[in-house]
Amino acid sequence: MDQPIIRIQNLRKSFGTLTVIDGLDFDVMKGEKLALIGPSGSGKTTILRILMTLEDISGGRIEVCGEPLYHMTKNGAEVPADEAHLHKMRRHIGMVFQHFNLFPHKSVLQNIAMAPILTKGEKRPDAERRARELLDMVGLADKADYMPSQLSGGQKQRVAIARALALQPQIMLFDEVTSALDPELVEEVLEVMKRLANETDMTMLLVTHEMGFAHDFADRVLFFDKGRIVEQGPPDQIFTAPQEDRTKSFLRKIIAAGQRV
């Protein structure tokens, strides 16, 4: 059996007195597509943010690609990671945000090509050629010289996906990437992600409220509530034959709201 690419052990995270993640354990295998679902405030987005090192942890341990994320070894002892260690570890991970977070002062092409040039020392022509290939892949080949403010939400999100892919991370985190989109723009983004899931062996973690998409996309679904995993399993099992009452009542509400699961 392979080593898991992400290993989370007894993870705890609190904001002040509010505990959002409380002793969480789970592993993710290389290439696995994981959907994290659950009610708002269940801690699923926080997990992605912690993996992207946007939040500190309050306790526990995370390993990414066999190395501790928030710890490092110094003089034989394990100490909290410094910025240099985090910088090294972030190479493995990319993230797409709910609100796109494109750089508004840079063109679409620069948004994608900037990081490979700055962080991997790629030559500008090479980085831009790859950026154009990625734009082609997300169906925006003709938008390379646009500014982000000239794009629709769905187009922005596809650029953001291309930007994250340009660094060729082994792990991609998608944080409610369609939640800020107008309903008619959701499909074009999901389409791109579906292709990614089918065509690459990238490990993907997806936080979403689109249950139908989670069903099609994921190898495994994790249902979260109050910072813990209530239930997990293959999508067919979670969506059609959930075992736990919490999962059942959550899914009932989702279906009552008119969603396909």
Partner: protein, 219 residues
């Protein structure tokens, strides 16, 4: 009044001193503003403390007194005796730089948190974040206030006449005492000050247009 062209030359010589003071003072103020502004939001407590102390001190005391300290008191320490021009540039630059530092700090903090997070997600170093993402977005926010500061600095240059540096105001006083005519020299320098500040605000506004290109619809 036949010598008026000679007196005008005198005032124009003063105008040149005023222009030099404004340009050098603004250059120093700009550098100091960025150093102290970035210092105030540094992760190092000592830098934050030092920057805050500098800003509060130079905003909290009069530029007139600062100039006197630099020109008259500093030489008493035996370290350095600045020329009037050096003292003038230093006092103006440090005084206006303290205001500018707050502008730099405010503009940097006004860039949304989203942008920092995007920088981390694409793995930029702290320096690269500042250089390529945060400052280019903060600069357009700073410029209008920098424009005000530069004009304030131009007008404050007249304090150097008090340490007998022959700037425009000083020369107008000279002309007045030699000719007994008050109206002409002071109308002349009024017009000249206004012309200089107009050039300053036009220059800054056109630069502002250049750096905000593409950011329309964002703010």
């Amino acid at each position: 009044m036949g010598d008026w062209s000679g007196y005008l030359t005198l005032i124009l010589q003063g105008a040149w001193v005023t222009i030099k003071l404004t340009l050098m003072g603004s250059a120093l103020a700009l550098v100091v503003a960025f150093v102290a502004g970035l210092g105030r939001i540094s992760r190092r407590a000592a830098l934050r403390w030092l920057s805050t102390a500098y800003i509060e001190f130079f905003r909290g005391t009069s530029i007139f007194v600062q100039l006197f300290w630099i020109y008259f008191v500093l030489p008493m320490t035996g370290l350095w005796a600045p020329t009037p021009m050096q003292a003038g540039v230093l006092a103006l630059g440090l005084n206006v730089g303290a205001y500018g530092a707050e502008v730099v700090r405010g503009a940097i903090l006004a860039v949304p948190r989203d942008q920092y997070e995007a920088c981390i997600a694409v793995n930029l170093t702290r320096f690269q974040r500042m250089r390529h993402v945060i400052l280019p977005q903060a600069l357009p926010l700073m410029l209008p206030t920098f424009g005000n500061n530069a004009i304030e600095l131009l007008k404050a240059t007249s304090v150097v006449s008090l340490i007998s540096l022959a700037d425009m105001t000083f020369q107008a006083q000279v002309v007045r005492s030699q000719t007994g005519n008050t109206l002409l020299p002071f109308v002349t320098i009024l017009v000249l000050y206004f012309a200089m500040s107009s050039v300053l605000s036009l220059a800054i506004r056109s630069y502002e247009r250049r750096v905000t290109r593409g950011l329309d619809g964002v703010r």
